[in-house]
């Protein structure tokens, strides 16, 4: 089983840490990850199209005394997520070779545990087991987040990360407890069946609100995203890429899994819930993209970039339709490797020049042409220039929103992609090409750029002409993978069908509880490359380039334009920046308020 292998190897590595040579240890770790890729791929193929696999641990299958034991129940989406994670984890492991000198096998162990945990989460069919792995992946990340233990900003970020995330876990657990108390079951399918027969559903809604708050904290949805940006800004690259590419997205997966398996059908006012979720996603996306354009610290830039995209993911999940889900899963599939590649490029820069600031790095990236090229490809893939990279998924997502009557999401998407795209182009232009005038430090900029001094990267790259292969290779692979996936034909239609399966509650229940299997009607497979997707994608690309040029050559703009834009732009921005205070107690307050708002929303949707 793919979950157990990384655990076993992690324990083994730790056991033999004093004996094993660095190379052997690294090789074993990577071999394990590759093995997990193999197993996950096998599982992925094994899952029948639009079907699922159920596996009961310890032989406690439901014929004996009801669904008491723990099961794994997964379809292609779950297996695919596990596969994706395994690929990314092997990137992280290879990239992490450079850390061995300092940390020994510890980092490898943590990455492996993380991999095992995510795999478990994406496959499990039991609520508490899900929680267990949820927490496990968190703990692996906590350990890594404090890697640069001599840097106060990193430590501070790590503390907010741990505290806020622990709150997420407790909220989740509180929700589980309420559910358990009402249904006396922990198996998702069994809970669902019991709830459907139970008269008092108010409790379930409260439970779901608490659980969702936990998931959205993890998914860095806007009122809850502060910890993520701080942690991402100071995390060592292996953690950074795992966190941004799968770690947070799992929060949304959790929401989707719980919603479709348990709660769908409980809400009286479905539309209210949907509007709330989509709105939340939209806000997330816009705020993320604005902050992204404003960021000068490269890692924070990528962090806000991720927040913005997660907003769109939430829109897709929040549409609560199979089509939206299909869009998100495709989007995610192309986005995750691309963003990991971006982060690895940033990591190489940091390792080489010991700086994260776009301002300080101006023009210096010319010494690393390969890294620059990879960064450019990864940018194209993650912006989703038609027809590459994230484009297909986003087109599907937009179609889903239009079909559900949310035309304004198209505007949000164009805005978000053009702003984030511009941010990437500006960064790339400045760092790798030395475009534009040498940017001056703005007043108050040290505040933001100063967080994270790049101590989190392994030393030893100074004075080398080229980045070492083990850093470049996974970066290139990530960018390539993202592009390649988008070129696979008919992926969209397949994703749609699988999403329909994921969202089919009765089929899920039937499968897990081994009743007669109900046949799912296959969804109509329409042509996906809509004109909508093409023109919105093209428009945002053009806009991105335009904005980027405008910012880079700010001096050439007419002065009235510059002044007016600045006047419009500065006050809200200053306010937003003040919110990102880096203080744990502020973040806790935001969590409390956010949870309350979310609860209110669920309540409104229920009554």
């Amino acid at each position: 089983m793919p979950v157990v292998a990384p655990f076993a190897m992690a324990a083994l590595l730790m056991c033999l840490s004093r004996v094993l040579d660095q190379r052997v240890s690294n090789a074993l770790a990577v071999a394990t990850a590759v093995g997990v890729i193999g197993v996950c791929a096998f599982l992925f193929v094994l899952v029948p199209d639009q079907g699922s696999i159920v596996y009961w641990f310890g032989g406690w299958s439901p014929e004996i005394q009801g669904a008491l034991g723990i099961d794994f129940a997964f379809d292609k989406i779950g297996a695919g997520l596990a596969l994706l994670t395994a690929v990314l984890a092997s990137f992280a492991l290879v990239y992490g070779f450079g850390y061995y000198q300092d940390a020994g096998p510890l980092l490898n162990v943590l990455v492996l545990v993380f991999l095992g945990g995510i795999t478990g989460m994406s496959l499990t069919g039991d609520v508490f087991n899900f929680f267990d792995f949820f927490e496990l992946t968190y703990i692996a990340m906590y350990g890594m987040s404090a890697y640069s233990a001599g840097d106060e900003h990193a430590l501070n970020a790590s503390i907010s990360f741990i505290i806020v995330s622990s709150l997420a876990c407790f909220l989740f657990l509180f929700g589980i407890t309420l559910l358990e108390a009402q249904t006396l079951r922990l198996n998702m399918a069994a809970i669902s069946v019991t709830l459907a027969q139970s008269p008092a559903r108010g409790l379930a809604i409260g439970a779901f609100a608490l659980m969702s708050a936990g998931f959205f904290i993890r998914a860095a949805v806007v009122p809850f995203h502060f910890w993520f940006v701080d942690a991402e800004g100071t995390a060592p690259t292996p953690l950074g890429l795992l966190l941004a590419a799968v770690g947070v997205e799992l929060g949304l997966y959790a929401f989707a899994r719980m919603y479709w398996a348990i709660f769908s059908g409980l809400f009286q006012h479905f539309a209210v819930l949907r509007a709330g979720l989509v709105g939340l996603g939209g806000i997330s996306s816009v705020i993320g993209s604005v902050m992204c354009l404003n960021a000068r610290n490269l890692k924070r830039l990528v962090a806000f970039f991720t927040v913005s995209h997660l907003g769109l993911f939430l829109v897709g999940v929040g549409l609560l339709s199979p089509l939206g889900l299909a869009g998100v899963s495709l989007y995610m599939l192309t986005y995750a490797p691309a963003v990991s590649s971006l982060l690895m490029c940033v990591g190489i820069l940091v390792a080489r020049f010991s700086s994260l600031s776009e301002v300080e790095l101006w023009g210096r990236g010319r010494a690393l042409p390969m890294t620059g090229a990879i960064f450019a490809i990864a940018s194209i893939a993650s912006i989703g220039v038609p027809p590459l990279g994230a484009y297909t998924g986003r087109a599907l997502l937009l179609r889903a929103s239009v079909e559900a009557g949310y035309q304004w999401i198209v505007a949000v998407s164009i805005l978000a992609s053009s702003l984030t795209g511009a941010a990437l182009i500006i960064a790339a232009g400045r760092v790798f090409l030395g475009l534009g005038p040498r940017p001056a430090r703005r007043a108050g900029e040290g505040h933001e750029a100063g967080r994270g001094k790049g101590q989190e990267e392994p030393r030893g790259l100074h004075g080398r002409r080229y980045a070492p292969w083990f850093m470049l290779l996974p970066a290139a692979a990530g960018a390539g993978l993202s592009i390649a996936v988008s070129l696979v034909p008919e992926l969209a239609a397949k994703a749609e069908a699988e999403a329909a399966r994921f969202a089919n509650r009765s089929a899920y229940l039937a499968n897990v509880l081994q009743a007669a299997e109900s046949v799912t009607p296959p969804t109509g497979q329409e042509d996906v490359v809509l004109p909508l997707g093409v023109w919105s994608g093209a428009l945002s690309t053009v806009l991105a380039v335009g904005i980027a040029l405008a910012v880079l050559y700010r001096g050439h703009l007419p002065s009235w334009l510059e002044r007016n834009v600045a006047a419009l732009w500065q006050p809200p921005l200053a306010w937003l920046e003040r919110l990102h205070s880096g203080r744990v107690d502020d973040y806790v307050t935001m969590v409390i308020v956010g949870t309350t708002l979310l609860g209110g929303m669920f309540f409104a949707a229920f009554r």
Binding site: F128, A146, D151, L155, T177, E180, R583, D585, I592
Partner: protein, 115 residues
Amino acid sequence: MDKVPYLTAGWVFLAGLYGMATSRNLVHQVMCLSVVQSATYVLLLASGYREGGLAPIMIGARPDNATFVDPVVQALALTDIVVGAAVTALLLAIIIRVWRVKHVLDPDALTRDES
């Protein structure tokens, strides 16, 4: 009256949160965090309690139709306690590091000199 146990859990949860949001010291904050967590134990166990139920240990004489309190929630609470211990230990380790670098534990002082 029969809701007191549940409300206790809610109360403990809120009290811990309040402490965390107003904390002036990281060590204090960590202890408040574990207070929040203890709310989940209380709720778990309270929800599985059964009037007249026996502790889930089947040793010694017991009537044939004896009922037990729910062992599943107890097992979950055990897991939960381990998780709590693990998180607390990690946080303490990081706090030791913070202290080494800054010699303060007040979140105010930790972020003040940023710019």
